[in-house]
């Protein structure tokens, strides 16, 4: 708590300094300070996509330039009105971000770097080449300082500084709200592991796109202010990617640390305290409903009888096939799983078990066949959409959110199917029911002591437990577990197996497992894969007796 109060004091002191400082400065220094504020806003806008969402962009300066040129051109050539020009400048930068985002987000990594740089150069090329409109490299002279349309003129450096300060603070506040919201938390999750976010039900593309648009909009605001400060718009000063890079340079790490300290603070705080805040606005009904659902799930003793009417089909797979190039990884697989059933999938390495899971969750699209989830055809659905229908999974190789704590990770998992996930401006702390539920889950699965530990610092056994917990926290109706005990010691294996045993009975389980003891103790039914086909199935006892299974799985010498 002292930490929070301390930072409030620091912010207040910095603000006071920014307010009084102009009285002690020469006009040159004041101009410099104004410029610093503008670049700070620009850098913060870049930080949203770079530091939080982890999208490396080299073309951010384009939005800065588009904002600046729009205001400059309108005020010089059309009409000098603050609201009109400023608004149009922001709109133009936002529209450019919306357009460029559509293209850039189709790519990642090196392609994303190249495409953002190339797009920003197109903007630079227009500014530089279209002399009749932009004045080319001479710039656009005589851009007026804002005055028209405002209650007072900001024509002198002194008042313009305060206008800039006010706008920069507003922008900072907006960004601060965004990064503290469930939306901001989701962005960090996407940076840490996009694939996991998708199977937790997040439409990750939409999050990245919104982040790009917000970030472009704020860069446009900074560009607006800058053109007025400079009085002359000329390409190169603002448009050269050098500026974008200059801002990149120190920023990502700072942004990341910022995110971490922020998150840690949140994690240290007693979650219950958040719930005492008055809950206003946003999805009241949905939340109450969710709370009821969670309550039902939590109160049911583990191992109780499945409440779902049995006989309903959770999963139906028809003639599913998949090839990698010439390799037929999966061939004509047919499988039906009843709701609440626990099915173990056995098979030697390379039998197609994980490929099967990847097809079920939508990470691959099948070459042929259909997949139905609770009678709904999901064959072509995106991974996040299947997760929203209640399909969860764990991964064979543990890839948690390495830099997030256990609590933060569980919160992301809970939030994935909660109405709160799209909330952009309310702090996550205000969604008390998420914290409540996370606490409950952590206590129930004996991970409460690890709540504030970063997942990459956990022991491997604990990481596997968190892996299971994340899948469970998303509230799945069908859960796919890919070798949950792989690489664990015998003692840890027993623990994890017991954990799976205690999973709510209504959750349908499909489990890939190599450990025979674990497999047969958890299974109600066993299916055996070999060379991409299902070669046997039945109760554990039946499968044990099947000579083909003994041959391929246990070795021929056993007879």
């Amino acid at each position: 708590m002292t930490g929070a109060r301390g930072s409030v004091a620091w912010v207040a002191a910095a603000l006071a300094l920014l307010v009084v400082l102009p009285f002690a400065l020469t006009s040159y220094q004041l101009g410099l300070l104004t410029k610093i504020l503008i670049f700070a806003l620009f850098a913060m806008s870049l930080n949203l996509i770079l530091g939080y969402a982890g999208l490396p962009s080299l073309g951010h300066a384009a939005y800065f330039g588009i904002g600046g040129y729009t205001v400059g051109l309108l005020s010089v050539k059309v009409l000098d009105n603050f609201w009109l020009d400023f608004g149009a400048g922001i709109a133009a930068a936002t529209a450019a971000a919306a357009l460029f985002g559509l293209l850039a987000l189709r790519t990642r990594g090196a392609y994303l770097l190249m495409i953002t740089l190339a797009l920003s150069q197109v903007v630079w090329g227009i500014a530089f080449g279209w002399r009749e409109l932009t004045g080319g490299d001479d710039g656009l002279p005589n851009v007026p300082r804002p005055g028209a349309g405002l209650p007072m003129s900001f024509a002198d450096g002194f008042s313009f500084y305060y206008l800039t300060l006010a706008i920069t603070l507003l922008g900072t506040l907006a960004l601060w709200l965004v990064v503290r919201s469930p939306f901001g938390a989701a962005l960090v999750g996407i940076r840490e592991s996009e694939r996991r976010m998708q199977v937790l039900g997040y439409n990750t593309w939409r999050y990245k796109y919104v982040a790009v648009v917000i970030s472009g909009m704020l860069a446009g605001v900074a560009g607006n202010l800058f053109r007025v400060l400079q009085r002359v718009r000329e390409p190169g000063v603002s448009l050269g990617p050098a500026v974008g890079l200059g801002a990149d340079h120190g920023d990502p790490r700072r942004g990341r640390d910022h995110a971490r300290t922020g998150d840690r603070r949140r994690a240290d705080r007693d979650p219950r305290e958040c719930d005492q805040r008055p809950d206003r606005a946003v999805a009241h009904g949905a939340r109450a409903d969710l709370r009821r659902r969670h309550a039902v799930r939590a109160s049911r003793p583990p191992g109780a009888a499945p409440p779902v009417a049995s006989g309903m089909r959770a999963l139906e797979v028809e003639q599913l096939s998949h090839s990698f190039g010439g390799l037929r990884a999966l061939d004509d697989v047919r499988l039906e799983v009843e709701a609440g059933e626990r099915l173990v999938i056995l098979g030697p390495n390379g039998a197609g078990k994980t490929t099967f899971f990847n097809l079920l969750t939508g990470i691959y699209l099948p070459s042929a066949g259909r997949i139905r989830l609770f009678d709904r055809d999901v064959t072509r659905l995106a991974p996040y959409a299947r997760a929203q229908l209640g399909l969860g999974r764990t991964f064979q190789i543990t890839t948690l959110f390495p830099h997030l704590t256990v609590l933060e990770s569980v919160l992301l998992a809970l939030q994935g199917r909660d109405a709160a996930r799209f909330s952009l401006l309310r702090p996550r702390g205000a969604f008390g029911h998420l914290y409540e539920r996370a606490d409950e889950l952590l206590a129930q699965w004996e991970l409460a002591e690890r709540a504030a530990t970063r997942t990459r610092e956990l022991s491997y056994g604990d990481q596997r437990k968190v892996e299971l917990l994340l899948a469970l926290a998303a509230g799945p109706r069908v859960l796919l577990l890919d070798e949950p005990t792989a690489g664990l010691s015998p003692a840890e294996t027993t623990l994890v197996a017991a954990m799976i045993q205690r999973f709510p009975r209504e959750v349908t389980l499909l489990l890939i497992e190599h450990d025979m003891d674990v497999a047969l103790s958890l299974a109600e039914r066993v299916t055996v894969f070999h060379n991409g086909r299902i070669i046997a199935g039945g109760t554990p006892a039946e499968v044990k007796r099947d000579p083909r299974v003994a041959e391929i799985y246990l070795g021929v010498e056993e007879d």
């Binding site: 770079l50 490396p56 080299l58 790519t107 090196a110 190249m114 090329g125 050098a242 890079l245 340079h249």
Partner: protein, 284 residues
């Protein structure tokens, strides 16, 4: 007719220069997973060194060798001293190589000044070649020939030799390549130096046509980017056809719609990106 023939030749020969750059960029990315923004520096530095040597010795061949060697030296230094110690993440690599691009650009400006310079054409290529009613400058035909030759050599090297097989293995999976006894570290240095040399050669043989000036590094880098975006990063075939396409688009764009030249390149790029995010021949 003459206009179209000449412009097509110009476009194709420019495309060949772009191919030299894009092939190096693509190869380096393939083996080392580094997007080398300093590739533009290699192009410009080679040309400037060649310019000084030509002025001192009057020999284009000597200038070619000196310029290429200087760039190879820079490439090896960069790879051994800077890049090797970076974490395998795009952003630090991009920032570092971009820093090198800016520094080399400024050093060139400082030493060779800001005036655009042109390399003198080797005397052999002063005349033109007549084909029926058409007259082609022989140097452009020379550029075209060099490009095709390099493409064939690269292809043969990659597909037909043991070294090429090692490079392909390193592109596919560096860890496994290492475990089969391939010295991936040495291979990386070699590939980086080779890619740098290709860029320098491109700059030097392009020097008599395109010249060299401050900012040329960035301009050519961008076009090389467009080539690999269109063709697919890490693919030789992609670099070749991408370069031809971009060379033609750039040339006809500048000849037909001078004020919209940027759009004639970037609009097709945007369309290809929208349809095939990994380029025409890209694998991932």
């Amino acid at each position: 007719m003459t206009f179209w023939a000449i412009q097509t030749l110009n476009g194709l020969s420019f495309g060949m220069l772009l191919f030299l750059l894009a092939a190096g960029l693509s190869l380096i990315y393939g083996v080392m997973r580094i997007l080398n923004l300093a590739h533009g520096s290699f192009y410009v530095l080679g040309t400037y060194v060649a310019l000084s040597v030509v002025r001192a010795t009057d020999s284009f061949a000597l200038a070619m060798v000196a310029g290429t060697l200087a760039v190879i030296l820079l490439g090896v230094l960069m790879e051994r001293v800077l890049l090797r110690f970076l974490p395998p993440e795009e952003l630090p690599q991009a920032l570092l190589t971009f820093g090198v691009l800016l520094i080399v650009g400024d050093l060139c400006l400082w030493y060779w000044g800001g005036t655009p310079e042109t390399l003198p054409k080797p005397a052999v290529f002063e005349h033109s070649v007549r084909m029926g009613s058409l007259v082609f400058p022989s140097y452009r035909l020379f550029l075209l020939a060099v490009g095709v030759l390099v493409a064939v050599l690269l292809w043969a090297l990659q597909e037909r030799t043991r070294l090429g097989a090692m490079v392909r293995a390193a592109i596919d999976d560096p860890a496994i390549a290492r475990s089969t006894g391939i010295n991936v570290s040495l291979l990386s240095s070699g590939v980086f130096a080779f890619g740098a040399a290709l860029a320098a050669i491109g700059g030097i043989i392009g020097g008599p046509v395109l010249g060299v000036y401050p900012g040329a590094d960035f301009e050519i880098l961008l076009l090389a980017f467009v080539v690999v975006i269109v063709g697919g990063l890490g693919s030789l075939k992609g670099a070749f056809f991408g370069a031809l396409l971009v060379g033609l688009l750039d040339n006809f764009g500048k000849a037909l719609f001078p004020s919209l030249a940027y759009f004639t390149i970037f609009a097709p790029m945007a369309i290809i990106l929208a349809v095939r995010p990994t380029g025409l021949f890209g694998s991932r």
